[in-house]
Every structure is written in C-alpha cells, then in structure tokens.
Amino acid sequence: MKMSLAQRVLLSWIFALIFLIMLVLKLDSKIHWNWFLIFLPVWTFDTILILMLIVKMAGRCKPDFDPRDGEQSLKRRLWYLTALLLKLAFCLTLCSRLERLTEMWVSVVCVPLWVLLGGALVELGHSVFHYRRD
C-alpha cells in the first residue's frame, strides 16, 4: 500500500501543527507540562516512521523478493533508520536537558543533530553534483 503525497503531507502536517501549538503554549507558560509530554507528537511521528521503515525492510524476507534491486535500497533504508534514531537521540537528550535531569553541555546535546545534518548534507550534495555531472 503506497500513500499519496497529500496523505503523507497531511500526516506530517497534523503532527507538526500539534507540536507547534503545544510548544508555543509551553513557552508562553500557559501550560506547565513536562517537556517529554510536549514532545509527544514528535515521539508518535517518529514511532510511525520507524515502524513503516521496519515493515518495508521486512519485505526483503518475502520468497518472491528480487535481490538484484534490493542492495541499494537496503543501504538507503539503513541510513534512514540511523537518521531517525539520531533525531530521536537528539530530542531525548534535549528534553532531559530542558527538564534538568542531566547537566550536560548543549554541544553534547547537539552532537546527534550535527551528525544527522552532516549525513543529510552529504546525501543532498551528492545528488546536486550527480545532476550537474549528467
């Protein structure tokens, strides 16, 4: 089953909207919830994405799977899974820092984000220069 672009955008849009509203309410001190609760839309969205990725990767175990076209997409999906886990790690450390559960430096909190952004930049840069070569 493949979702259309509008469905996927709607899914991201709803979670982004709820998260922004909760973030604004928290920052304006209208609600005094825990930061982990404010990030609930982010956790839910990431869980959905990870589950979708795992289901797609499990598709390789099907008996009629053609291994010739699978090598590239497996690498890509492993990178996506790593990216999602990095994002999750960043949000978790950020929440624990905001809740003052740990007193680590902001630079340490940002390390997963930097790795994620670096990876995304390499992937985007590759596609930019690939198109240019063509």
């Binding site: 955008v9 982004a16 922004l20 990725l53 940002c110 930097w114 985007l124 930019v128």
Partner: protein
C-alpha cells in the same frame, strides 16, 4: 524517507541546491547556538548567531531571482512569476519568524510583550500554505 527528494523539490518549490544551502545554514546556526549556550563566547550576540540563517535567506533570494530572470528570458513568463512569488512568500515568512525570535532572545527585557504565539504565527501561515500546495502538486 517519507518523501523522496523529487517530491520535496516539487512540493517546497525550492531547488536541491537551495535545500542544501538552508541545511548548511541550519548546521552552522546550531553550532553557534551551542557555542553561545555553553558560554565559550559570552560576548557573541544573538544577532550574530542568526547570521547563517539570514545569509541563507539572502542567497536563496538571489538564486531565485537569477532563475526567474532566466525563465522569463526563455519565455516561461508564468512559471517565472509563480516561482518568484512562491519562494519570496516562503522566505519572507521564515525571515519574519527568525527576526522576531532573534529580537525576543536578544532583548528579553524590552521584548516582554512579544509572546511566542506571535513569533511562531508566520510558521502557522506557512504550514497552511504548504498544505494547500501539497494538494495542488498531488
């Protein structure tokens, strides 16, 4: 992941190179924020921290102007105007949000009336516009 690069380019209306530019700006910005927060450089003002984001907006506007002029010269007038209008709307909404956030952080005492609901309101408008555009692209 959820969207392919081609879909992102179609949906957001930005070229791959512009996306690259904005991501790079975000990376430098997050590094400066971490530097500022960890107090390695307490004299670093918030306006200086936001410079990468402003620079990315400026470069993106310049890039879009060039692309639109080229499109206009090649007689794709409708496409040129639509692209210019869309990108300028998105970039100006982003810029308003950044400037307001920067002002709030830099002048915490004077900008007490500037509540976060107001700062994030351009992003709410941007979200609605992106949803409408997704339906059109679809």
């Amino acid at each position: 992941m959820l969207f392919s690069l081609r879909e992102l380019v179609q949906w957001l209306g930005f070229a791959t190179f512009e996306l690259f530019l904005h991501l790079l700006a975000l990376l430098v910005f997050s590094m400066l924020v971490a530097l500022r927060a960890d107090m390695f450089t307490p004299t670093l003002s918030w306006w200086l921290v936001f410079v990468p984001l402003f620079a990315a907006d400026g470069l993106s506007t310049y890039f879009t102007a060039i692309v639109s002029i080229r499109l206009y010269q090649e007689n794709e007038k409708r496409l040129a105007v639509l692209r210019l209008l869309w990108v300028l709307t998105v970039l100006s909404l982003k810029l308003v949000c950044e400037v307001l956030l920067c002002q709030k952080l830099a002048e915490q005492e004077q900008a007490r009336d500037l509540w976060f609901g107001l700062i994030v309101s351009p992003l709410f408008i941007l979200l609605q516009l992106l949803m409408i555009r997704a339906c059109r692209v679809n």
